[in-house]
C-alpha cells in the first residue's frame, strides 16, 4: 500500500510538474493548437473588440463605389467594457464629412438584449433615440455594417473548426436564424498568434463569395495586437471601404458617466482630444 500511495504521489507530482512547465513555457513558446471552435471564436471576439477595459481611437474610412467615386468618414471612437465578452458602451464623434460634423452616436451594446442607440444632431440640439434595427446595414454609408464595427453576437451563429494551418484557424459559421442575415455562411481565418480574425468571406445561397473583410495592417499597441487598417469589399458591386485606425490608446480609466446624455451634448474633450505623441 505505501508503495502504491507513494507511486501515485510521484505520478501526481510529475504530472503537476509537467503542467507547471507547460504553463511557464506557453507565453514564450508556441501554444498548443486550440481545437474547440467555440473557444477560438470567443478568444477572437475578445481580441477584436474587448482589448483593455476601455479604449479610444480615431478612425477614417475611404468609401469607393464601383465607378471609383470616393467619400470619406472620419470619427473618434470611445469604448468602455462593462464585462469582458459582454455588454459595452460606445461613443462615436464625427468630424468628417461636413454634413455630419459634430454629430455624436452613442450605443449601449447588450449581448442579452437589444442595443440602445442614440444620435445627437447638433443643428437641432436634438438627442434622438434610434430603434435597434438591422445591424447588417451600412454603417454611415460605408461598406462596413454596424455589426462589423461593434461585433457580431457569437450566439447568433454555429461555429465549426474546419482547418488548422500553420498560421490560421479556419472557422466555418452558419447563422442560427438564416432569415435574419443576408449570408448563407461565412468563413473566418483567425491568426493563431494574435487570435485576430484576418479574413472573413461571406457566401451566398449559391456558395459564392460576395463579401470580404480583410485585415491589412496590425500593430502592437500597449502590448495588444491591434488592427490598424482593414477593408471590406463588396464583390458584387465592386465597391469597397478601407478603414484606418490611429491614435489608439487602451486602459485610459474612462468612467461609466462618459457614456451618458451629457457626452452627447458636450462631447468629452478629455478623451476625444488627440493624445500627445
Amino acid at each position: 500500500m505505501p508503495e502504491f500511495i507513494s507511486s501515485t504521489i510521484t505520478q501526481r507530482f510529475c504530472r503537476g510538474a509537467i503542467v507547471a512547465a507547460l504553463l511557464a513555457i506557453t507565453p514564450v513558446g508556441q501554444a498548443a493548437d486550440l481545437t474547440d471552435a467555440q473557444a477560438i471564436v470567443s478568444q477572437a471576439n475578445l481580441a477584436s473588440y474587448y482589448r483593455g477595459n476601455d479604449g479610444r481611437s480615431e478612425a477614417r474610412m475611404l468609401i469607393r463605389d464601383a465607378q471609383g467615386r470616393e467619400q470619406v468618414r472620419q470619427f473618434t471612437i470611445l469604448r468602455r467594457d462593462r464585462e469582458d465578452g459582454g455588454d459595452q458602451d460606445f461613443l462615436v464623434a464625427f468630424s468628417r464629412p461636413a454634413d455630419v460634423r459634430n454629430t455624436v452616436f452613442m450605443v449601449a451594446k447588450h449581448t442579452q438584449a437589444e442595443d440602445d442607440r442614440w444620435l445627437y444632431l447638433p443643428g437641432l440640439d436634438l438627442v434622438k433615440r434610434i430603434s435597434a434595427g438591422d445591424k447588417r446595414t451600412s454603417f454611415v454609408g460605408s461598406h462596413y455594417f454596424y455589426e462589423d464595427v461593434s461585433g457580431r453576437n457569437l450566439q447568433e451563429d454555429n461555429h465549426r473548426l474546419v482547418e488548422t494551418t500553420d498560421q490560421h484557424y479556419v472557422i466555418a459559421a452558419t447563422p442560427q436564424d438564416p432569415v435574419s442575415v443576408e449570408f448563407k455562411s461565412y468563413k473566418v481565418w483567425i491568426d493563431k498568434q494574435t487570435l485576430l480574425p484576418m479574413t472573413i468571406e461571406y457566401q451566398d445561397e449559391a456558395g459564392k463569395v460576395y463579401r470580404k473583410v480583410e485585415v491589412l495592417k496590425v500593430a502592437d499597441v500597449s502590448g495588444f495586437p491591434t488592427v490598424t487598417q482593414s477593408r471590406v469589399s463588396d464583390l458584387r458591386s465592386g465597391g469597397s471601404t478601407t478603414m484606418q485606425f490611429r491614435f489608439i490608446r487602451y486602459d485610459l480609466g474612462m468612467d461609466a458617466a462618459v457614456f451618458t446624455e451629457r457626452s452627447l451634448r458636450k462631447p468629452p474633450r478629455e478623451w476625444l482630444r488627440r493624445p500627445e505623441s
Binding site: E70, D99, R101, R246, K266
Partner: protein, 464 residues
C-alpha cells in the same frame, strides 16, 4: 482613379461657381474658405497605402483645429396654387452662406454659427445668428452654455409639448432644412449631472437642466408675410401688408423672461423626464381688449418616458398648460390645455423606418368657452387630435434618402404632408427636393388655413 481625377476638377468649377454666385449675392468673400475645403478633400484622393499622417487633419477638438466651416445653399420653392391675398408665388428663393467657427479657450468651447442670405421672397439681405455660445464646466458635474443657442428637449417627433423653446414655422413651411425649425434664443443653460446611484452603466443618475432666456423669444410664427393665415375677425385668410400680424410683445424686464427646467434620468434602457416652464405662449394665441394679438402668460408642467418596446422605441409625454384664463370664460384668451402624446418607431425592413404618433390637445373649461365666445364658428374642438406618420428609407449606400412625414387630424379634418428626397452626390454636394402640402375641409383649422401655402421646393447645397 482616372475617373475620379476627371470628375473632381469639374466639381471644383461648380463649387467655385456657386461660391462666387453666393458671394456676390450675399456680399461675403468665401474664396479662401472654399479653397481650404477643396484642398482638404484632395488629401484623400491618394492611394490607400500612401495616406499620410497629415491628411488626418487637425484634431478638431483642439484650439489648433479652429477652423472656418459651413455651407452654401441655393433654394427655390413655389406655390402649387395661387394665394388670392398674396402676389408672390415664390415661397423660397434664397442664396445662403453659412459660416461656422469653433475654438477652445482653455476648457471653454466657443462656437459661432451664422447665416447670411439673399432672400427673394421677403426681399433683401438677411442675417440669422444661429449660435454664438460659450460652453464650459464650472465643476465636475455642472456644465454651462451661455449665449445665442438652439435648445431642444422632449420626446415628440415634430410635435412639441414640453419643448417651449422657439420654433421657426416660416422656415419649416417653406422647405428650409429641418434644423431651421428650431429658432435660436439668447439663453443661459446650466446642467447638473447627478451622482450615479449604483450600477455599472453610468445611467442611474438624476440630472437637472435649468434654462433662463432673459428676453422672451417667441416663435417665428406665420405672420402673413410669406404665407397667409386665417383671421377669425375677418373670416378669411389675410396677409401683409394690411394683414401683417404684429402682436404686442411683453416688456423687457426680469419677470418677463422665460424659465425652463428639466429633471431627467435613465433607468437601464428607459429614459424619464419631468419638465417645467414659466413664460408665455410662444405664438400670439390671445388678444388684448383692443383686439391686438399678444402673448399671454403660460406656465407648463409635464413628464415623459422613452424606451424600448418590442423591436422599436416607444415614447409618451404629457403636459399641462396653465394660461391666464383658468375659468375659460374670457374668449380673448387661451384656455388651459392638457396635451398628451404617444409614439412608436420601428425599423420595418432593413433601412426602412416607420414612426407613428398620436397627439391630443384637450381644451379645458370648454363649456365656458362655448358660452362666452358668441357661438364662434371658428372655435377649436375640445379634443383636437393629430396622428403623424414618418417613413424614412435609405438607399444607394445611404446616399439617397426618401422621407415622408404627415400630420393628419381626424377632428379638424385637415392635413399637412411633408415628402422629401435627399441625394448626396458626394461628401460636399447634396440636392433635396420636397413639398409642404396642406389641406382640409375648413378654412379656419390649424393646417387647413395654409392650403394656399402648399409648395414644392428644391435645394442645392455645397458643404465645406
Amino acid at each position: 482613379m482616372s475617373t475620379i481625377k476627371s470628375v473632381r476638377p469639374g466639381q471644383r468649377w461648380y463649387a467655385l461657381a456657386l461660391g462666387v454666385l453666393l458671394a456676390g449675392g450675399a456680399g461675403v468673400i468665401p474664396g479662401s474658405v472654399l479653397a481650404g475645403g477643396l484642398v482638404q478633400a484632395d488629401n484623400w484622393a491618394e492611394e490607400d497605402e500612401s495616406w499620410g499622417d497629415d491628411s488626418w487633419g487637425d484634431d478638431q477638438t483642439e484650439s489648433a483645429g479652429a477652423a472656418l466651416q459651413g455651407f452654401y445653399e441655393l433654394g427655390v420653392g413655389g406655390r402649387l396654387h395661387n394665394d388670392p391675398v398674396l402676389d408672390e408665388n415664390l415661397t423660397l428663393a434664397e442664396a445662403r452662406a453659412r459660416l461656422e467657427y469653433g475654438r477652445y479657450f482653455d476648457d471653454t468651447h466657443f462656437t459661432l454659427k451664422g447665416d447670411i442670405f439673399a432672400d427673394g421672397v421677403e426681399h433683401g439681405l438677411q442675417g440669422d445668428l444661429r449660435e454664438a455660445m460659450f460652453a464650459f464646466s464650472v465643476s465636475d458635474n455642472i456644465d454651462m452654455r451661455v449665449g445665442q443657442q438652439v435648445l431642444t428637449w422632449g420626446t415628440g417627433d415634430l410635435l412639441f409639448l414640453n419643448d417651449l423653446f422657439a420654433k421657426d414655422w416660416v422656415s419649416f413651411f417653406s422647405g428650409r432644412e429641418d434644423s431651421y425649425l428650431k429658432a435660436p434664443s439668447a439663453s443661459i443653460k446650466a446642467s447638473y449631472y447627478g451622482l450615479n446611484l449604483g450600477g455599472s452603466g453610468g445611467d442611474n443618475g438624476v440630472n437637472l437642466d435649468l434654462v433662463w432666456t432673459p428676453k422672451f423669444t417667441h416663435d417665428r410664427f406665420i405672420d402673413g408675410e410669406r404665407f397667409s393665415y386665417f383671421s377669425p375677425m375677418v373670416g378669411t385668410n389675410v396677409a401683409a401688408p394690411s394683414g401683417y400680424f404684429v402682436p404686442e410683445e411683453p416688456d423687457q424686464k426680469f419677470e418677463n423672461g422665460e424659465f425652463a427646467a428639466r429633471l431627467f434620468g435613465r433607468q437601464g434602457s428607459t429614459e424619464w423626464a419631468l419638465y417645467g416652464y414659466q413664460g408665455f405662449w410662444k405664438r400670439p394665441v390671445s388678444m388684448t381688449p383692443d383686439m391686438r394679438g399678444n402673448f399671454d402668460r403660460l406656465t407648463a408642467l409635464g413628464a415623459s418616458v422613452r424606451g424600448n418596446l418590442a423591436a422599436g422605441i416607444a415614447h409618451a409625454e404629457v403636459a399641462w398648460y396653465e394660461g391666464k384664463d383658468s375659468n375659460g370664460d374670457d374668449p380673448l384668451r387661451a384656455n388651459d390645455q392638457f396635451r398628451a402624446l404617444m409614439g412608436y418607431e420601428q425599423e420595418l425592413v432593413s433601412d426602412l423606418t416607420m414612426g407613428v404618433q398620436y397627439y391630443l390637445e384637450w381644451t379645458q373649461d370648454y363649456d365656458e368657452l362655448r358660452r362666452t365666445d358668441g357661438h364662434s364658428p371658428y372655435r377649436p374642438d375640445e379634443y383636437r387630435q393629430v396622428m403623424t406618420l414618418r417613413l424614412s428609407y435609405r438607399l444607394m449606400q445611404n446616399n439617397l434618402t426618401l422621407n415622408w412625414f404627415s400630420f393628419w387630424s381626424p377632428t379638424d379634418e385637415d392635413y399637412y404632408l411633408r415628402p422629401s428626397v435627399r441625394y448626396r452626390l458626394d461628401d460636399a454636394w447634396s440636392v433635396t427636393v420636397g413639398g409642404n402640402i396642406f389641406g382640409g375641409e375648413e378654412q379656419h383649422t390649424f393646417f387647413g388655413q395654409f392650403e394656399d401655402a402648399s409648395n414644392l421646393y428644391a435645394r442645392l447645397r455645397y458643404s465645406y
